[in-house]
Symmetry: C2
């Protein structure tokens, strides 16, 4: 059975300011390799990697159509379609659009729905996990993926597994919000809890049925917005009037917690990361535009100006052509306060 990758590129975070901007969120940045996170995501499920994979569909923020086409074309990957959201309506709406798009193209393929802004180190391992999930999805289950936790991370949601169903596939016992540190430690001690990877695998028809049962307003608005969509340059733009009326909810809440068809592949141990701050990004001190003198344990990144760091340690130093961030590695979340101050000052040129 063919697998249709649908890449969710709607994110617009500012946690990697000054590199991430409204016009260029983190999925468009090269954070780990010479490819951007979007490109990494597309290559992870490239058609030539496994003949099961179809050319990807990308569902993205309304202003990013051309950027997406550019970044995929640079990899010789032609998107099957780039679908632009006129507003953000969370992942359940995206899942509905994805399923409806596949149904509209006359197929009942499996859909793998995955965020554009994650890094996965072990791509083969990830494809193996997809293959395991596919066996369950073909039976009509809505499959999610449980990342093996490496430490008690408090920035991720967790999923508790229930009864075993097949090889590495379990029922979902519960979705857990981002825990405090003690709770996260307890999860790791207890076992059976996995990081919620935010990745889904399902038959298009199964997702549409479950949406009809548990989130009919979302399904109706998303399908309606797709049916009324129009081409705009290289991308298809969802109908704004209809899509803006779509309730905003996550796949987890709107579908997974309600359906009897939820399943989870676990453990998935593939070096997965959803980058929440600069403190999790690799330093690039070997770059031509970085000079380090007697400085250690810093995260230094530039996409233009030369950075010279002398005698300092434990810092995040990030420079773009128009802004510089200097923060502490152990308090990278302070970038939020910086972004809030920029908003207060009306510096939309830097946001």
């Amino acid at each position: 059975m063919k697998i249709q990758p649908v890449i969710m590129s709607g994110g617009s975070g500012t946690r990697l300011w000054p590199m991430s901007r409204a016009a260029r969120p983190k999925q468009f940045l090269k954070l780990f390799t010479d490819e951007t996170l979007l490109q990494e995501t597309a290559l992870r499920l490239a058609p030539d990697a496994d003949e099961a994979f179809l050319n990807p569909v990308v569902i993205a923020g309304g202003k990013h159509g051309r950027l997406i086409v550019e970044q995929l074309t640079a990899l010789n990957i032609e998107p099957a379609e780039v679908i632009l959201e006129p507003c953000q309506r969370n992942t359940a709406a995206v899942a509905a659009v994805a399923a409806a798009w596949v149904a509209r193209h006359g197929e009942d393929s499996l859909v793998v729905l995955l965020p554009a802004d994650h890094h996965i180190e072990d791509v083969d391992g990830f494809r193996n996990a997809i293959a395991k999930g596919a066996a369950a999805a073909e039976k009509g289950l809505i499959v999610t993926f449980g990342i093996k936790p490496t430490h008690p991370h408090t920035g991720y949601g967790y999923i508790e597994t229930g009864e075993a169903l097949f090889d590495s596939v379990y029922e979902v016992a519960a979705f857990k919000e981002k825990p405090d540190h003690d709770t996260a430690e307890q999860y790791l001690k207890d076992g059976g809890y996995y990081w919620n990877g935010g990745i889904f695998l399902f038959k298009a028809s199964a997702m549409l049925e479950e949406l009809s049962l548990h989130a009919p307003a979302i399904k109706e608005a998303a399908v309606g917005a797709l049916n009324a969509s129009v081409m705009s340059g290289p991308a298809r733009r969802l109908d704004e009037a209809i899509f803006s009326g779509c309730p905003a909810n996550s796949v987890d809440y709107a579908v997974m917690e309600k359906t009897e068809k939820a399943a989870i592949v676990a453990p998935v141990d593939v070096g997965w990361a959803d980058i929440g701050s600069w403190s999790e990004v690799a330093s690039r001190e070997d770059a031509a535009d970085v000079i380090v003198v007697d400085a250690e344990n810093n995260i230094i990144r530039t996409d233009g100006p030369l950075i010279a760091a002398a005698g300092v340690e434990g810092l995040i130093i990030v420079a773009t052509g128009d802004a510089v961030l200097v923060a502490r590695r152990d308090n990278a979340q302070q970038v939020r306060a910086v972004v809030e101050e920029l908003q207060r000052r009306g510096r939309i040129d830097l946001l």
Copy 2:
């Protein structure tokens, strides 16, 4: 008697990299006020401040003629002449050119010869010191100025005073090189030692006579290079063949230590500073392009990009359009190592 200010703008330091560059040494930077150090220097002895002061002559590096004219014109100060050195030959040559230029214009004015890259807080106090020195200079003495030391600075030369001559004017007992810390402390304890301000006041004829006696080769080359000079755009260019043959020496060594006419005005207590590193420059955290979140005791300066500093302390953070320096306040001299690395990498674009 009229006083001819001659501003020595030949400096080319890199200690304030990345703002100071070969094309824009520190005298062309705004470090303390809304004026550059050159502009501060010109205003300090502006013609309208005291009718004794003539329009200034500026003796400068060969590539800075236009910049000097621009910066002075912006203050409505028209330089009497901008004289460009084809190569650096230290201050004795500059003093010789200054004296010869005045003699050539048919006057035997007093000349006040002062560096373009010093900051002086108390301008009225400085003019008072000049007035005291003028009484001695009119009698044919070569006058220097002893800055009252505020702490045992090891980055400045010192002058030991001898016998009193007039009000606040002494003979010079000795010039002292930059001392180590213990020696500097002893100077302060003993008293009678002053920072060498590198400022001179003399009758043009007196300087020419003392040069003839103690440094005839310098006088001959400097006067010859001025006589063979030609106008080049807005500035007068010293003859390169002649001037390059001029021995390089300081006024202190070539004249002051040898002449019997040396005198010193002391103490001069006017908030004088010769800025040796970023650690001595004021932070500009109230600038529109600086955001500080929970960060203290930093020196932050930008001439373009926004700088956001979060959670950090004791740092120097300086940004220009093409380079960023992050260093420790207590080790600002490490910028030298950065500049050396830039030279090794051949990054003349950043030097």
